[in-house]
């Protein structure tokens, strides 16, 4: 059904006239030109399309526009503030925690959401929280280190 959908996208309120049954992933990528969230499997198994919805990491290929009505959606493009990268982005760079980079936006967004809930995760908690985000290149060991570094950095800032 064509509806007017209001939501906050990367901190800005927007209003879209769109078929509300369309998947969030494709509306983000085509109508809105935000291509950071990627298609990887289309069924929620890989996590490449992960975005934040009200600070929760969700698979945008499994959400429709209706699902995000009046919600706050953040994509990888919305993480840096005024060109200043988020500590997770910096830590992924410092640790070379990526290879092909296709899964990277989903990895960072997923880590962002769980660090909000658990700012000082143990290594086993990081592994459990990241386990459903797939990477084929084998950057895993560095992704864990990057998340640990970012957690310390973010924790340090709060003090």
């Amino acid at each position: 059904m064509i509806e007017n959908i209001k939501l906050t996208l990367n901190g800005k309120p927007i209003s879209l006239t769109v078929d509300s049954d369309r998947p969030l992933l494709w509306v983000l990528r085509t109508d809105l030109g935000l291509t950071g969230a990627k298609y990887g499997c289309g069924e929620g198994y890989c996590g490449a399309c992960t975005v934040l919805v009200n600070n929760e990491a969700l698979r945008s290929c499994q959400l429709t526009m209706k699902d995000v009505l009046n919600k706050k959606v953040v994509t990888i493009e919305g993480l840096a503030k005024n060109g200043d990268l988020h500590p997770l982005q910096k830590a992924f760079m410092a640790h070379d925690a990526l290879q092909c980079g296709y899964c990277t936006p989903g990895m960072i967004i997923n880590a962002y959401a769980f660090l909000l809930k658990n700012p000082r995760p143990s290594e086993s908690q990081i592994i459990a929280e990241m386990d459903n985000n797939l990477c084929r290149c084998g950057a895993h060991v560095r992704i864990i280190k990057a998340i640990q570094t970012a957690a310390q950095e973010m924790g340090g800032k709060k003090k």
């Binding site: 369309r22 998947p23 494709w26 990528r29 085509t30 109508d31 030109g33 935000l34 291509t35 950071g36 969230a37 990627k38 298609y39 990887g40 499997c41 289309g42 069924e43 198994y45 890989c46 490449a48 994509t75 990888i76 493009e77 993480l79 840096a80 990268l85 982005q89 992924f92 760079m93 410092a94 070379d96 990526l98 290879q99 092909c100 980079g101 296709y102 899964c103 990277t104 936006p105 960072i108 990081i126 592994i127 459990a128 990241m130 386990d131 459903n132 985000n133 797939l134 990477c135 084929r136 290149c137 084998g138 950057a139 895993h140 060991v141 560095r142 992704i143 864990i144």
Partner: protein, 721 residues
């Protein structure tokens, strides 16, 4: 060793065409200093072309350009898919030119601008493109020094270069920058083979660790992959696919799809595509197509395939031989026989095959996720019936390849559709299509008969590999009586061999061969009641193998004991792309469930000169992590030409929870030529884990993946040495 011969059959189309108008190149590249490709008579690159019966390239595209602003453009037909050559190639050129890495702009995989290239695979970039690139850098530096000498009125011996600025050695105030020297000039030099590159003691950038240069783009979501490219009026296409590779379309009803608003349908024989400005609407339209296919019955599946392969296998081709097998058998006190199996594996990059195509004037421009942009150009030209110079390929970032993006079906589809619709078209395969059209790592069988004397010296080695391919099939132990035969190539083969496409999968053939060989070596060590490390050392003479093996053992803190020791330790040794690898794994096996957890992996490799130690380490980690998958879980299930794995719920690739503690060692041999780094460390994972499982629970698993079911089954048998 000619491991790479195996690639040659893969690109059988004949000589490339390099007809682009020279003025076009000038227009595209502007002024500056260019170092052009020339006939590098002794280079492996050209030998390879000649061996394939290709004509020598008369390509005038440059390796590099130093622009009037002093910035350096590096042109390479290679693409970046995560392996990190976007950084390591820049390091090579920067060092030879004496500029900073930051000063280098990469132009990768653009067929109008870059020198011809066969493709990015086989751990070849550093080994084969590296040497001419470095020579081009050295040549350019020489040209600039000559210009500087003239400008500063000094002899060459009085000049030094730092960071793109040429100084008078004795008076640093007298200086001139590369940018000033280049201004207003267009100088072209052909690369000759006489250029001297830097020696290891002169390196400032090569052999130093550098972080990825593309990381910022990739952590911010700005990096462009094929699917991220959008053009005004672009249509997304979905294509009707058969349920099985041998299925035939009987009838199709497009009515419901045709009635959808904004949907365009292309129907040419069996090629049926639906297009829409939104990919999800195109998908909905595809779902509305009613199609009936005839699917032939088949009894081929993941269990029956091995008997089938042995049945259709051709005579073996001799890869290596020496001594006399009968003598070897007579000299052996113990004979060990093993038959090993490996199932089909998917490449499963997280980015499925994608391409965007559009018409510009009388040319077709295609942006594909492809490891082979130049062959893609030829394939597209052929499919469209236009001359190759009417096609341009521009390579975006590629979201993982692993050998799977060497064919360009999706690029041809996008090109066809842009020609038929007159609009830009994106073809992005679904995950299901990605599994269906993958060129799988072939299922394969290895049969080995080997013998040892009473002191545990190997006397006999009779090795037959069926359909894996010969890469890595040669043993490297000190064995007087031996033969190695390869039956059937790694892919292709006669029709009826495989029920679907097979192809190169990260270190093709070598994963299967190394698993079989190193399992067999361990079985012999167990029969001799000798420690597997000592057994290997006793039977090795090659210093490089001994060195990597000792390095890994020392780091692992290996303590000798015959197997099975109950500790769950396993060793495997191998060579790929010129790089020597030793891996030691520690596993824990749950005897009730058969589940294996790999606790620790120590891997040592000797890859000659290391261009970027950071990048090389990361490739090793990636290989070790990816290797867990083929060793333990990855297996394609199929019924004839029908692929039953359609997504990641049934095809299990490694996850965070599978991770062992990973320790890597690189033996830095600066005096030796740089060897491959993207593939070698994956080859030993199957063998090291198989041997560790045996050491843990005393049973041998002969088939990969070594699933819990197979381990439990082995535990119920009395097959113990």
């Amino acid at each position: 060793m000619n491991n790479d011969q195996i690639y040659k059959s893969d690109f059988s189309d004949n000589a490339s065409d390099f007809q682009m108008d020279r003025r076009e190149f000038l227009k595209l590249t502007g002024g500056g200093i260019f170092i052009l490709f020339s006939l590098w008579e002794s280079s492996p690159f050209l030998e390879e072309l000649q061996a394939q019966g290709r004509e020598l390239p008369t390509d005038f595209n440059a390796f590099l350009k130093i622009g009037e602003d002093g910035r350096v453009s590096l042109f390479t037909g290679k693409i970046e898919m995560g392996q990190g050559v976007i950084t390591s190639l820049a390091q090579m050129l920067a060092d030879e030119l004496d500029v900073s890495v930051e000063n280098i702009d990469m132009v990768m995989g653009d067929t109008d601008l870059c020198p011809w290239d066969m493709g990015t695979f086989g751990s070849r970039t550093t080994r084969f493109f590296g040497p001419p690139l470095r020579a081009a850098g050295a040549e350019a530096r020489w040209v600039l020094l000559e210009l500087a000498a003239e400008k500063l009125n000094l002899p060459l011996t009085e000049l030094i270069v730092e960071n793109g600025i040429v100084f008078d050695k004795t008076n640093r105030k007298r200086q001139v920058s590369y940018a000033e020297l280049t201004k207003g000039k267009r100088i072209e030099r052909k690369l000759t083979e006489k250029v001297e590159v830097k020696s290891p003691d002169e390196f400032k950038i090569i052999n130093r660790p550098f972080l990825r240069r593309d990381a910022r783009a990739k952590v911010t979501g700005q990096a462009k992959f094929a699917s991220d490219l959008q053009f005004p009026d672009m249509l997304y296409a979905r294509i009707l696919r058969p349920p099985s590779h041998d299925a035939k379309l009987i009838e199709v009803d497009l009515t419901a799809a045709q009635q959808m608003e904004g949907v365009q349908i292309i129907h040419e024989g069996d090629f049926i595509a639906v297009l829409h400005k939104y990919p999800d609407v195109a998908e909905n339209a595809l779902q509305k197509i009613k199609a009936r296919f005839n699917v032939p019955e088949s009894n081929l599946n993941e269990n029956t395939i091995f008997d089938h392969l042995l049945r259709v296998a051709p005579e073996g081709e001799t890869v290596a031989e020496g001594g006399d097998l009968t003598t070897g058998e007579n000299e052996s006190a113990t004979i060990v026989e093993g038959t090993y199996f490996d199932g089909y594996k998917a490449h499963a990059p997280i980015e499925p095959h994608t391409a965007v195509a559009k018409i510009e004037g009388d040319r077709v421009i295609v942006w594909p996720s492809s490891q082979t942009p130049f062959p893609a150009k030829e394939e597209i030209a052929k499919a469209l019936g236009i001359p190759p110079e009417k096609v341009r390929i521009i390579s975006p970032f590629v979201g993982g390849g692993f050998g799977g993006k060497s064919r360009n079906r999706q690029a041809v589809e996008a090109a066809r559709l842009t020609k038929l619709t007159g609009r830009p078209v994106q073809v992005a395969w679904s995950r299901q299509e990605e599994f269906f059209y993958d060129s799988f790592r072939p299922a394969a069988v290895v049969k080995i008969k080997s013998g040892i004397d009473s002191e545990g010296r190997i006397r006999l080695w009779d090795y037959h590999v069926y359909f894996a391919g010969n890469r890595g099939s040669q043993h490297f132990y000190n064995i007087p009586h031996h033969q190695t035969l390869s039956h059937g190539s790694g892919w292709g083969g006669a029709p009826g061999t495989h029920p679907f496409a097979t192809g190169a999968w990260r270190a093709p053939a070598n994963n299967t061969n190394t698993f079989a060989r190193e399992s067999q070596i361990d079985m012999m060590a167990a029969r001799a009641k000798q420690d597997p490390l000592e057994f290997r050392l006793k039977n090795l003479t090659n210093e490089k193998f001994i060195r990597v093996l000792k390095a890994a053992a020392e780091k692992f803190n290996w303590k000798p004991a015959p197997t099975p020791s109950g500790r769950g330790w396993g060793i495997a040794l191998g060579i790929d792309s010129g790089t020597y690898v030793a891996t030691i794994a520690e596993v824990e096996v749950d005897k009730n469930t058969g589940e294996v957890q790999v606790k620790r992996v120590v891997c040592a490799q000797d890859m000659g000169l290391v261009i970027n130690p950071q990048g090389a380490t990361i490739q090793m980690e990636g290989c070790i992590t990816m290797g867990l998958g083929y060793a333990l879980k990855e297996d394609i299930h199929f019924r004839g030409g029908q692929i039953l794995n359609e997504n990641f719920d049934t095809y299990h690739i490694p996850r965070f929870s599978w991770l062992p503690e990973i320790e890597t060692i690189i033996i830095d041999d600066k005096s030796a030529p740089a060897q491959g780094g993207g593939e070698p460390a994956i080859i030993t994972m199957g063998g090291a884990i198989a041997n560790a499982i045996y050491d843990a629970v005393g049973v041998r698993v002969y088939q990969m993946p070594m699933t819990p079911e197979r381990i439990k089954e082995a535990l119920t048998k009395s097959d113990r040495y």
